[in-house]
Symmetry: D2
Subunit: 185 residues, 4 copies
Amino acid sequence: MDSKGITAPELVTSVWLNTAEPLRLEKLRGKVVVLHAFQMLCPGCVSHGLPQAAEIAAMYSRDQVQVIGLHSVFEHHAVMTLDALKAFVHEYRLTFPIAVDQPSEVDPIPVTMQRLNLQGTPSLVLIDKTGAIRLTHFGRLSDMQVGNMIGQLLMENDDSQDSTDKPDRAEPQANGQCDDEGCSL
Amino acid sequence: MDSKGITAPELVTSVWLNTAEPLRLEKLRGKVVVLHAFQMLCPGCVSHGLPQAAEIAAMYSRDQVQVIGLHSVFEHHAVMTLDALKAFVHEYRLTFPIAVDQPSEVDPIPVTMQRLNLQGTPSLVLIDKTGAIRLTHFGRLSDMQVGNMIGQLLMENDDSQDSTDKPDRAEPQANGQCDDEGCSL
Amino acid sequence: MDSKGITAPELVTSVWLNTAEPLRLEKLRGKVVVLHAFQMLCPGCVSHGLPQAAEIAAMYSRDQVQVIGLHSVFEHHAVMTLDALKAFVHEYRLTFPIAVDQPSEVDPIPVTMQRLNLQGTPSLVLIDKTGAIRLTHFGRLSDMQVGNMIGQLLMENDDSQDSTDKPDRAEPQANGQCDDEGCSL
Amino acid sequence: MDSKGITAPELVTSVWLNTAEPLRLEKLRGKVVVLHAFQMLCPGCVSHGLPQAAEIAAMYSRDQVQVIGLHSVFEHHAVMTLDALKAFVHEYRLTFPIAVDQPSEVDPIPVTMQRLNLQGTPSLVLIDKTGAIRLTHFGRLSDMQVGNMIGQLLMENDDSQDSTDKPDRAEPQANGQCDDEGCSL
């Protein structure tokens, strides 16, 4: 885990599921935020990433840790629609808040995925109590590693950082390849 | 396993993937046919049924055992489209022949699923060398049980039966419920 | 699976557990015999081989399939004693008949293991209804493969073979190496 | 996790493996200590507890986290000997320091297990940088839970506590029962 990080850019989303109103990162200061970027047709997300996100949501109090699923579609856009996602979320019984990453008008990669410079899905982004990005990981992390990092972030004070840095903009070309680990750009 | 069974009704399908031309059960006499009915948004199919079907396809010679996937959509019809199935088959790297069960004009349950009187997905149908249905199972079967049954069917002669019975027609109402085991009508 | 095989040499054992009286292969004609050679301190036996043997014992009728555990100690003789085996069998709740392979007076490899020319533990030996060895496998086999082979053997008539061949005697030196798959000579 | 705890009593042991010299808790102040009490013939220890301890040892720097295996034999004393343990440790390739809990002269339960008032094996004891016991758990804990707790303990200062309390002495009767979770007194 980086000892400090840049402030996470605000999520840019089109729709939210499993929440009465949209979540904003800036309103989540004081909590650890676990952002899990996935695609519903990504095998590694379905077998490993989403179950891990659900376990985090079940294990921690929502007062301390906020899990957010981010449906960042960068391939097969025509079939990973909102209705398809709704059916998927229903059948897989996902109950934590899930946002649809805002599609770009000029790029297959959606807006938040670009801003976070993610390499593919599943990706895990850990944001500390001050709003700083402390981990960005594409692929699989063990439950013990994830538990360890969240445990450490929970112990930090929330006034320890005041970063206003902006992340570099990234515009990778989408040519997704999926394997057991996940789907990469 | 039943000691004998009725002849499997012919598959009624709209599209085939992973095969140069449609398969017909009547052309497969002399082989054991493993028919795996699934839905791409059925968790039990994704985690257990389809990997088992793929293992069967990898383990047996296609001269002896023909695995067929049957996409029998009885819920969420609007999103489990042919294009969505194609993306799913691509991402999950399924290589055995897969057919789309013909949608019914008057019923949410597709035609072959009705004819086979399946209870939900995943369902496994084992058809012997004579074309008779020897097992219809909804839910999970262990690999050892499936291997045992296929092994036994392979040892039978293919001139042992000549059933021309027709299965009873079933028209269940589709009100799908999914759990860890699968999605039932 | 070999299409035919030599007759299995009779088991040479010092003690039996989980059975009122010793089993003899020659008395088991008409049944498929699943002989599982293991050592209680062999990781691959504990994690994979013995659970598979227990699943076979649970799935098949003992009228058709006889599972036999064979404790073939070829290393750490001083600690894999009968009392240690009894404690192991109790704690792991093994209920199928288990025999202690007769120690050799001149060789670290016990007698039956020598006669069967096994390479290490776990080893699976499948014996058909006529008493012929049809498979000898060191290491891991999938449940589907094992189920398939037993299913095929169950379909054979028990008067199909009458082999009186004797296996070649083997006297390998014991220099056991264990890995995830098992312990080899 | 308790917010504070009593100081862990010193380990009372007869032999150490995998270390040049015996470890003493009082010399480990400043590190988080993960004490894993096990028996080599306890199925839950073999399948879950010891692999988890090994993963902890592999994931954390030994400068920060010290994993200690404690062979606390409370049943089958005659066969879980030092030589048997050595063979077990060799075959299972355990590389973290392992101590043999000192047998009691008057009780089947060994001395350290009594002092820690453990209910059975596997048991996990987490000791913070000040030497205080922060968790005592019999049975299974998820990797995420364990990672979370160690991560939190790592973030604490090591001068935050100065407890000199002694734990109550416990002398349970040993009538061990093992199930999938572990072996209890």
